[in-house]
């Protein structure tokens, strides 16, 4: 690696692309952004009038109790009551005191009455909230406790009249989780203002976003029973959304620049210059990575210092780092495999959808289920909400993404060469090239299965997720087939790539060595995951983790020696034997490789089936 050249390429990447955008385009973009910000600011400040502003005309006298709600609701224009005006169609509603005097003929008049009722309800609720005697306004207090799915902790609570702990017998003063401010009880003093605010105090700790979410999802703390709605993780959704959107913009630009190097052989001259492939790829990636991280940092700090979130700092930023890398790596790898902009579009859409789903959906349920930890974005949301993040949580959420990003960058870099970049080479051949370029010696046969393990885990989990819904008599054998197929391909494809590219000589000795090394490498990687799972007790709560442990642990009461055989020697023997079988076929060509692969799968399936049958019995 040459940092100076790497940075030079990064600088060039920025200036080159900046040179491709003319000043007029920049000016139009700047004006557009400013306009959007102005509109957003206006909307946020409440300066924007609603679409229904002044939509209905209501005739009501100042002495009528309805005058105040009608005049405070911008949807209504208050006029002097007049039957003639109604007949002319100049008024939708005509009140005499609180009695509606006109018949509702038109749809607009009916809609006006419906809107007016809502307006009066809202006005009444507001009046009651402002009442000094909150107990009288809201005589019934209900405490809602929402539990996580696994019953781990209480997460959301809304209280009613928190200040009534003494005023009305103190029925909920101690248990009102939402009534933090009023839990001390003011013994019936005029703390109505405090009491009215207490309902939202539990959310208020998390900043304004939570308050916004509560408002939009009906999480009000006082009102009618109809106002009580199940909680929706609005805050998590907004936060996750804020962090995922910039990624999608960055990868569009990144994928495009990577593919443009390949069109018309533009990147050929960089390949012939005294710069390593690593420096070129890293240099071209660096600006996009820094750009993504810069935006993320700005968002994090903006949320924190504007008071919109209670937390947010280095942990949130560090947690996004592997995600940014994963987005870029997947796009880079896809851009290396794609042979045209048409294929690149398919790749970027696939990357966007799948990685957004992976990162975004779990993060929405940060407060609901510990499975959310499979996404680094969950850590971000937790940190922004000022929740505790343990080292184990951080590692579990970020290490898989980081490793996957490294694997994808490595595989893609294998294709960053003349014969893969500038030809219409078939994708299966590119896959073999990406593997064979990682082979330096026979020991590479041991390294590659370890490197590919994140892909193996993802493929197996995807297979399990797809098949688990089937009846158990069908799903278990099918899952075993999927596991066997994925693992045997992972153990042998690089060996076949090594033989077909001539990096391994086809001698029997080499074949046996690389087969045994490949099997051993896979075994070591598999056990590494097991150790990681066992060392992190928190992971046992996570269903995916439990799924990964199935078949890797022995039942209780089994002697240690037997456990060692079952956990270590038998799997090692299995993986080395099957990998060697595949290697023996791979050295002779594609057809014999496929035959040998099927044979290896049969052996592996028989082993797994026996183990599963034994465990089940």
């Amino acid at each position: 690696m040459n940092p100076r050249k790497l940075l030079r390429i990064a600088k060039w990447e920025v200036t080159k692309n900046a040179g491709g955008v003319d000043k007029r385009t920049v000016a139009i973009m700047a004006v557009s952004v400013v306009a959007m910000l102005l509109v957003a600011g206006l909307a946020a400040s409440g300066g924007a009038t609603g679409l229904d502003s002044g939509l209905y005309r209501v005739g009501v006298d100042e002495s009528s109790p309805y005058y105040a709600p009608a005049s405070e609701d911008p949807a209504f224009i208050v006029r002097d009551p007049s039957a003639e005006a109604v007949e002319r169609g100049d008024q939708e509603l005509y009140f005499d005191g609180t009695t509606l005097r006109n018949r509702l003929g038109s749809q607009k008049e009916k809609a006006a009455l419906s809107e007016f009722r809502s307006s009066v309800d809202g006005y009444n609720s507001e009046q009651m909230r402002e009442d000094d005697n909150a107990t009288a306004a809201f005589p019934v207090s209900v405490t809602l406790v929402y539990l996580e799915q696994d019953g781990v902790t209480e997460t959301v609570a809304t209280g009613g009249n928190a200040d009534g702990s003494s005023g009305d017998g103190g029925t909920d003063g101690s248990s009102g989780a939402g009534g933090t401010d009023g839990s001390s009880g003011d013994a019936g003093t005029s703390d109505g203002s405090t009491g009215s605010g207490t309902g939202s105090s539990s959310d208020g700790d998390s900043g304004s976003l939570a308050g916004l979410g509560a408002g939009l999802t009906g999480g009000s703390t006082s009102g009618t029973p109809a106002d009580i709605q199940p909680p929706f993780p609005f805050e998590s959704l907004v936060l996750a959304f804020l962090f995922i959107v910039p990624m999608n913009f960055v990868i569009q630009a990144y994928g495009s620049t990577m593919l443009s190097e390949r069109l018309n052989r533009r990147g050929e001259l960089l390949l012939v210059s005294p710069v390593s492939r690593f420096d070129i790829v890293a240099g071209k990636t660096l600006p996009y990575f820094l750009g993504a991280m810069g935006v993320i940092t700005a968002i994090t700090l903006g949320l924190r210092f504007s008071g919109l979130t209670a937390g947010g700092g280095p942990i949130a930023i560090l947690a996004v780092l592997p995600l940014a890398l994963l987005f870029l790596a997947a796009t880079f790898c896809g851009a290396m495999f794609a042979r045209s902009f048409k294929e690149l579009t398919f790749v970027t859409v696939t990357v966007t959808v799948s990685l957004t789903t992976y990162a975004f959906v779990p993060a929405i349920f940060t407060d609901v289920n510990p499975i959310a930890l499979i996404s680094p974005l969950t850590i971000v949301v937790r940190d922004l909400q000022a929740q505790a993040v343990t080292t184990g949580d951080f590692a579990f959420a970020t290490i898989p993404a980081t490793l996957s990003a490294l694997v994808l960058f490595t595989l893609g870099s294998g294709l960053y060469r003349e014969e893969d970049m500038f030809t219409q080479r078939a994708i299966p051949l590119k896959l073999l090239d990406s593997l064979s370029t990682q082979i330096r010696s026979k020991w590479s046969a041991l390294k590659l299965p370890v490197m590919l393990l994140p892909a193996v885990v993802v493929a197996e989990l995807a297979g399990i997720a797809l098949l688990f819904a089937l009846p158990v008599e069908i799903s278990i054998p099918l899952i075993l087939v999927v596991v066997v197929l994925v693992e045997e391909v992972a153990k042998s494809l690089h060996v076949y790539a090594g033989f077909s590219s001539g990096r391994f000589d086809g001698s029997l000795r080499t074949t046996l060595v690389v087969g045994a090394l490949s099997g051993t490498g896979f075994f070591l990687a598999e056990k590494l995951i097991l150790v990681f799972q066992v060392l992190n007790p928190g992971l046992s709560e996570i269903p995916t983790s439990q799924a990964g442990l199935v078949g890797s642990l022995v039942p209780e009461g089994v002697p240690l020696a037997l456990a060692a055989v079952v956990l270590l020697l038998l799997p090692l023997a299995l993986h080395t034997v099957t990998a060697t079988v595949s290697a023996l076929g791979a050295r002779r060509g594609r057809r014999t490789y496929l035959v040998a692969l099927v044979a290896a799968m049969a052996i592996h399936f028989a082993y797994n089936f026996t183990v599963v049958s034994t465990v089940v019995q």
Binding site: R8, K16, N17, L269, V272, P274, V275, R417, E418, G506
Partner: protein
């Protein structure tokens, strides 16, 4: 300066280059010619380190071509050199000068010197707005920005108008005179004949003939003797008051001389005509056809 031994390049089961062995001395201009698909570009790309040979060995300036340090000694000009069209010639050349560790002052001087020699104006215009000939000149300047000892030029005048072509060929000739080692490929054999010291003729992935022009002419070309006599000799035709007969050997010339003497006349002129490189190339292409180019599956 360049040593290639038994070079081989396979693409799947297709053998693009097989058994290519040649060497190029310092200061020599070595031409590689052959029909389309003969393996010329693949060979040049293996020399420049762009393609990894499937078999054989190749070194440039004492370095293995897989060694990044070799690239410091090399200037490569591909057949098509698409540039970064958003950049200007100067920013483009400065960028590559940086990658080749050329000090800024040296790079500036060298860049302007080369562009002056190539007569390229509008150096701050974007490359995307330039003509093909102008872009080619920038590409040539880029290949010289590191002042390399070895130049590998693949069809340097491809697709250019005759005026620019002559300019580029003359410039390449000038580089050869300055002592650069040049490996040069071109379809226009007149250019090769003009500037190359030695030539390799490739066909279907193999070097089927190589040597300097005289050696190639001797082996694959034809030499014809136009013998003019004062009297009629067998098979002669009358031309401008004399008799002319064409033979392909000095023995034939001697036979005409004897026949003219017997008829009371004499040989008054002998003119020699040799095959051009183009004719040699056509003869080689017709006579030397290697076998299959596909690898048999085990």
């Amino acid at each position: 300066m360049i040593e290639a031994r038994d070079l081989r390049k396979e693409y799947g089961d297709f053998v693009a280059v097989e058994g290519s062995t040649f060497s190029v001395e310092q200061g020599e201009v070595f031409g590689v010619i052959g029909p389309n698909g003969a393996g010329k570009t693949t060979t040049l790309k293996m020399l420049s380190g762009l393609l990894e040979p499937t078999g054989g060995e190749v070194s440039v300036a004492g370095y293995d071509v897989t060694d990044t340090a070799m690239r410091q000694q090399l200037g490569f000009l591909p057949e098509e050199s698409p540039l970064y069209e958003e950049m200007t010639p100067t920013s483009y050349l400065r960028f590559f000068a940086d990658l080749y560790d050329v000090p800024e002052s040296v790079a500036t001087e060298r860049m302007h010197e080369t562009l002056d020699e190539l007569d390229l104006e509008h150096r701050d215009r974007k490359l995307g707005d330039m003509s093909k000939g102008m872009k080619r000149k920038v590409a040539i300047a880029r290949s010289l920005i590191n002042d390399p000892d070895v130049l590998v030029y693949d069809e340097p005048a491809s697709g250019l108008d005759p005026l620019t072509t002559n300019y580029v060929i003359e410039f390449t000739e000038q580089l050869a005179e300055e002592g650069k080692t040049i490996v040069f490929s071109a379809h226009n054999l007149y250019h090769v004949e003009t500037i190359c010291d030695r030539v390799a003729i490739m066909n279907e992935g193999q070097i089927v003939a190589r040597g300097d022009l005289e050696e190639l002419q001797a082996e694959y070309g034809e030499r014809e003797y136009y013998v003019y006599t004062t009297v009629e000799v067998p098979d002669a035709v009358q031309e401008n008051g004399h008799w002319r007969r064409v033979v392909d050997s000095m023995d034939g010339v001697d036979a005409i001389r004897e026949a003219a003497a017997e008829a009371g006349g004499d040989v008054i002129d002998i003119r020699t005509e040799e095959s051009s490189l183009e004719e040699v190339f056509l003869n080689v292409a017709e006579s030397e056809t290697p076998g299959t180019r596909y690898v048999e599956e085990a």
